[in-house]
Symmetry: D2
Subunit: 211 residues, 4 copies
């Protein structure tokens, strides 16, 4: 039961490729996940993702590419889903410090900042309407956790009809195993797994085309 | 980077538990995945899932529990998503043999049979309205692939506010690794991983309560 | 072309009736629509709706019935839809005074307060998940405008599988014509048009049953 | 309480205008609404809409513009919504004659034909993903009934971020009053009310640009 099993029956049969109009989706780069003072904030791969995402975001903004940047928060226990993650159940409420946007990766004057209430940045949020308005055909998904909200956001990006790109060094997780497992699963079905370098090259082309 | 990493920071902090009104969601038990003559139809874990799901479904129908049973198909290439799986891209069109419901697990006179166009049984289908009409608070998710459409359906079931139960011997995949990886990921976040035996016991209680 | 045309061919063939578990949906009772100092805030029928809704809401909260209470706001022009209403385009941004909740009808300690970005309270918001979690089968829709966001919210409530009730004196509009036209249209298709009195009687029954 | 009331406070402040990439949405032009042998099939304004829509559709297909063409049907009573329209409750089931596509306006080899289960062509259908894949920014909505499924589809088209155009002679209803009332309501908020002539001119430009 190796990767070959999947390849042999037709998984990962082709690459999707970048399209013409990209949009950036940043998932859950909020202090609760990016700053070590919080229970879920000490993950090395997430810190790496913040650094790389910041670089990609600077290029995206310079190229005039739309950016949607979300955080997870609930109004109160009444609208909380049946989460099994302790710190999410107890602390992820609107107004709590753990729901503040990570300053290195968010720019409230440029980005569309939005709250979400489920793993996916698309689930019951207006982000698809935002992408439609900007005529995006290609999404670049960054943030955390690869095995949680990134996985969910990638599935939904694909399901909404986008070419979906995941720069693997711009997404992070608590453990390297689940990080890799999920890139493997989505990379053979829904999305191209790329690097921040490839995305930077692509954004450079977009910038030149737009200017 | 073991499972402890996640447990230590609060993942898998509690079980969700069965609620009062279950609904069954059967995902992609269509011949293209259940019958060996098709490229994706030879997976042992899926055959096991068919057998176990058939038993659970018989009990669910006897108890009057609503069943939604879906298959994946497209009208034509024009509405096909950017799939990377060869046989899906080439064959999963309405009317093709691979889109017929598996007879061991579907009952068109009892089940709500529906077509879906994305990994999740919820994504842009009326299944949530069907569950609402039947006042379901607990979903039991069965079918295939654990690392594809089951994963997506479990995320959406959770996101829609349901108590979500995955009987691990009623879902299957091409490989045991991705099967286990995905049960691990969703079991620490969104759903309880149970067995068909536990579901049968629960459905027996429901049947007694309803009769 | 009278109302009979529709009745003769089968519109308005039956009433839906209240179900077992109600939920209240309050649409756009934000200061921009409820207070005369704002361009859209001087509508008499809306002021009447605020008064009547406040009474129904007090009863609903006393009965332990879930309440979702929404306002419309955008992050910036980038995520604004193609609205043709001047004051919405120019002023309905998060943080603007016109987006504050009307104090007579909102209770942040009890209600689920949420932002929406489209006419319907359901459109790309988590409100359906909130109703599912509380096992609601009947929605009671109040607020404004009958010919705008109420119409849209009623359609979506119906489409999501709920028994949908519109107390006609708890919804309002700028003009009596469009107010009546829209109650007519939805009342023959999707919803029962009732009065605040009927809703209060029903909530009283619910309160007794729950206590 | 005239139209001036609305204009004075800022409704209908501007026109939206056609965008760059149109997509056609045809709503419920199925025999149950287009052929007089059915209870809901005798409406003159709908017959007019069929004729005009057929002309627009021929031009759209010649110009290579994507067309989504839907009908309403349920699997069984179990997934039927709480409709108040007799003939819909009793007859609109998959496989019934009233759910067949009107031949004058549908082309299964060109159009994306899809089933819907609620008033709006968007509600829990994959049509938005189809439009995204084809990078549509402008929808042209045709079909019936103006005061039912057209109204709902226009709201959702707007809510999804599209420039929404309604050629008034390509939509129809049982009564002229509700037809006009609904064009008035959506025309001051969400959509431009145009004529089939204007749409034909626009499609001609698109065809020239594309060829």
């Amino acid at each position: 039961m190796t990767d070959d099993t999947y390849r042999d029956i037709g998984y990962g049969a082709m690459e999707i490729g970048f399209g013409e109009r990209p949009g950036i989706l940043v998932v859950d780069l909020q202090t609760g996940f990016t700053q070590p003072r919080f229970p879920l904030g000490g993950c090395e791969l997430v810190h790496r993702a913040v650094d790389n995402s910041a670089r990609v975001l600077a290029a995206a903004r310079a190229a005039g590419v739309p950016v949607a940047n979300c955080y997870t928060a609930y109004h109160s226990k009444g609208d909380m889903l049946h989460w099994k993650i302790g710190p999410v159940r107890e602390e992820f409420f609107e107004g709590e410090p753990c729901t503040e946007m990570e300053p290195r990766t968010s720019d409230p004057d440029y980005d569309y900042i939005l709250r979400k209430s489920a793993p996916s940045i698309f689930f019951q949020t207006p982000v698809a309407a935002f992408l439609t308005k900007h005529r995006v055909d290609t999404t670049i998904v960054m943030g955390c956790m690869t095995s949680g909200c990134i996985r969910a956001s990638v599935i939904d990006s694909f399901s909404n009809g986008y070419r979906t790109m995941v720069p693997e060094d711009c997404v992070g997780d608590a453990g390297e195993g689940p990080h890799r497992d999920n890139l493997r699963d989505v990379g053979r079905r829904y999305a191209d797994i790329v690097s921040s370098g490839q995305v930077l090259d692509y954004l450079d082309e977009v910038r030149k085309r737009n200017s």
